[in-house]
Amino acid sequence: MKFSVSDQAIDLNAAKHAVTDRHCGALVVFEGWIRNHNEGQEVERLEYEVYRPLAEKEGAKIIDEALAKFSVSHAMCIHREGLLELGDCAVIVCVSAAHRDAAFDACRYIIDQTKTRLPIWKKEHYVTGISEWVNCENCAAAGHAHGNHRHD
C-alpha cells in the first residue's frame, strides 16, 4: 500500500526497501520524529488521532499526485496513530527516482500535503501534566486553510 496508517512502530528499513528499484539512482527519505519541545513547552509524549477511512483515501491521492507531478518511480508514506514517546518515528516518506532532484521535490510535496490535508490530529502531553491539541494558530487566526503558509 502506498499510504498507510499504523498503530505499531514503523519498520524503517522495510519502508525504504519497498521503493528500491534498479532503475533508480536516488532514494530520498523523510522521517518525522517526536521531539521534546514545542512552542516553549516541554513535551513528554504525543498522541495521534487518525480518521483512517479518509486519511488512507486522501493519502493515496497525495502519493498519486506526487507520482504524476514529478519524475519519480516509487513513493510511499506511513503515518503512526496512537501514543508515541520521544524519539519515536511518527511518519516516514520514501521516494525513489532515477535522479535526486525529482525525488527531493516529491518527498517534500508528500510530507507537506500530508500535514495539511489528512484528518490527523496530535495531542501533546507536557511534563507539567497538561495536554493540548496542537492547532495551527496561524490558520485559526486568519480563518483560512493551511495552504497559505508554511508549517515546520
Binding site: 480518521y51 479518509l54 490530529w121 492547532n135 480563518g143 493551511h146
Partner: protein, 79 residues
Amino acid sequence: MKNRVRFFALFREQAGCDSETVNWSGGTAAELFQLMAAKHPLLKGQAAALVAINDEMSGWETPLNEGDEVLFFPPVAGG
C-alpha cells in the same frame, strides 16, 4: 431532515460527544455546524476547520441531503 454528525479530536471534546443524530430543517454543511455550535457553546472555530460528507472531503457551502453523514474536522496537524 435527519443527518448524523461526527466530531473529531478537539471538536469531540468541545461538543462533549463523538456523534449525534440531528433532526433539522436542512441546509448547508456550514449551517449545520452553526446549529451544532448553538447547541454546544464550547464548539467553535469553523473557519479553520474542514468538513467531509459521507467520507469524502467537501466544502462548507455544500447542501446536505437526507441521511448524509457529516464529519467535522478541527484544524489538522499530521506529521
